[in-house]
Symmetry: C2
Subunit: 371 residues, 2 copies
């Protein structure tokens, strides 16, 4: 089930371990650890590059055989990066993983739900820190993603650019002098670049400013979505802001504009929090402490409720009402309490009610440890 | 403001101490301590005797002068009990107390709200343990009340009977050979006796049985009310059950019938709790622990919310989910968190918002201490 590429490897090989869960199933990705610039508001920053191989049709129209050839080519290329950069990479073929591990990739933001629809020839390449995740045969042949904690566009861009450079020496990218990188969907044409920032905006939500801000962001070419991608609700007051256009602008411009938008949101969120605190300190403290009290004591909890309460506890930690250690659990719990991750941690298949019971128990322990 | 009668006293005297709150304003009445028979369901048992002096008109139609003479006569008689029984009694004149102390009497169930309307010539006599409270010039000249923790009809009756015996040697009661004790309202005629049991019935409420039970109780001559008397809502799942008729039956019959009704309710409540626990242990534990978590953490709380949460915490303690120490705080907190008691403890006049803040803070401390 797992294909591991690490230095020094010359040819890639398949190690089948169907009884053992994938390492990523229980590990903590680098982005899930707290820290990073402006981490009072920003959970993580991602840069994604869409690339396609010139000699194959785009994934949506490729034959299964072509898809598998693309997958093998990327796997081999990844081995090359491992060899030249001393970084350890592992390649996971989706058709050799069970459904729980597949969903954990989505829950950890290492793969999109759409990739799971392509499982016959899809793969994910991960580095050891899970900072780099390359989706193979999602909408494009390659989607190189780099995910960093906090607001760190430069780090994410540099890493993505470096991985892209390494791969471009081995793989023959579809590139046009006029249009730039060719992609399956025209919206990704050009740079193939999408930056996105995951922001925690409880202040703007509680003060009722989000709706207006979202329509304003649309006008400046930014897209705002819930945290599990397009169409997902903004659970836990989490919003993903990204650029809409990737054609006709340089990478630097895209990232500069997106950074400017994110900086503006960070400042507005900080002002909103200050205003809420000044307007009614007790009401805000009450809300934070009640959320904490419920998380630390409940015996049954849905993930929607947990995310909402964790959002308040994180806010309380950011405002100095609760200890900063509580905040450090936020991103990790946000992932771990999801259905597949919970199931893998417990090594049990649980019905909805028992998931709610075990979710509450896991959150309770972590929250009490951190207090 | 305070008239204290303690052994040995021969004549009663008035000690005016308007700057000092009454001792009962911050003390814990005996009934507020936990314990007593069947205290998993019963908070307290009360026996009340209505008595009137033969030489004065009933309070509702008496002149202010007559009212004051009645008050003085009862005060003097109380002094007699103190002298012969070695018990300490204090007499409090309502017109010499501030409004906060007056309301504390009501919150502690030592006086009725109706007594406060008669404040010009009303008084309350209390023993040191606050087990005996005699309302003077409520609807009747005397209402001798004895309040014990748990389900203890015998103790309450014996004490009330003994106080009544002592007083009857000094005071000339209005008594008719055919009708028995004469009272201002015909509903109290005869024995002048009303027993009442304060029951905590969360099991019957949560399982939706209360409505049916209440109509059943009506048919067997019992009255069910909320905990702060007629017309008050059943906050905190607390119900006061008492006899409707006091004429044409003996004291023994009244108390026997009421005890039978209370015993039936106790058994039904215990069954309901067991059924709830067996039907969904996790749901019940979740509810108990969430209530605990909110009480132990909130920064603002209304008394209605607090009573509801305390009810769940007491239930959890009764079922062994939480430590029994938590239950011991129930009756005390139930009184202390009320408006006047809170104000007196803090020695501050607070607006509604600040009461909610200080209430949360007081409950939090007590609940955490008890855990």
């Amino acid at each position: 089930m797992r294909q591991r590429f690490a230095t020094p490897c010359v040819n890639w090989m398949v190690i089948r371990m169907p009884e053992v869960p994938a390492p990523f199933a229980t590990s903590v990705s680098e982005w899930m650890r707290s820290g990073g610039p402006s981490d009072d508001v920003v959970v993580s920053t991602r840069v994604r590059l869409a690339r396609n191989l010139v000699e194959y049709p785009f994934t949506p129209v490729a034959s299964p055989e072509a898809g598998k050839e693309v997958r093998d080519a990327v796997a081999q290329a990844t081995c090359e990066i491992g060899r030249v950069s001393s970084e350890g990479y592992a390649v996971y073929f989706l058709d050799e993983m069970d459904a729980v591990d597949q969903w954990i990739l989505v829950e950890k933001h290492l793969a999109s739900p759409h990739l799971l629809d392509q499982r016959a020839c899809a793969a994910v390449v991960l580095d050891d820190a899970e900072t780099v995740s390359i989706m193979v045969n999602e909408e494009d042949h390659l989607r190189i993603q780099c995910l960093f904690p906090g607001f760190d566009m430069d780090a994410a861009w540099e890493r993505a650019d470096s991985v892209d450079d390494h791969l471009s020496r081995v793989l023959d990218y579809a590139f046009d002098g006029r249009y730039g990188y060719l992609t399956a969907c025209p919206s990704n044409l050009g740079t193939g670049l999408r930056g996105s920032v995951m922001l925690h905006l409880p202040g703007l939500v509680l003060s009722g400013q989000m709706e207006q801000i979202m329509s304003g962001l649309h006008k400046v070419g930014a897209v705002v979505r819930g945290v599990y991608g397009e169409g997902s609700a903004a659970e836990g007051n989490l919003f993903q802001v990204s650029n809409r256009v990737s054609l006709g602008v340089t990478e630097a411009d895209i990232l500069y504009n997106l950074s400017a938008v994110a900086t503006e949101l960070i400042n507005r969120e900080r002002s909103a929090r200050e205003a809420l605190f000044n307007a009614d300190q007790y009401a805000l403290e009450d809300r934070v402490y009640r959320s904490y009290g419920i998380l630390a004591n409940a015996r049954k909890m849905s993930s929607e409720e947990a995310l909402g309460l964790l959002s308040m506890v994180r806010l309380g930690s950011d405002l100095g009402i609760l200890t900063p250690k509580v905040r450090a659990t936020f991103a990790e719990l946000m992932v771990r309490m999801r259905r597949a991750s919970l199931q893998r941690i417990l090594e049990e298949t649980l019905d909805a009610e028992h998931r709610d019971i075990r979710r509450a128990s896991m959150i309770r322990e972590r929250i009490q440890q951190a207090s």
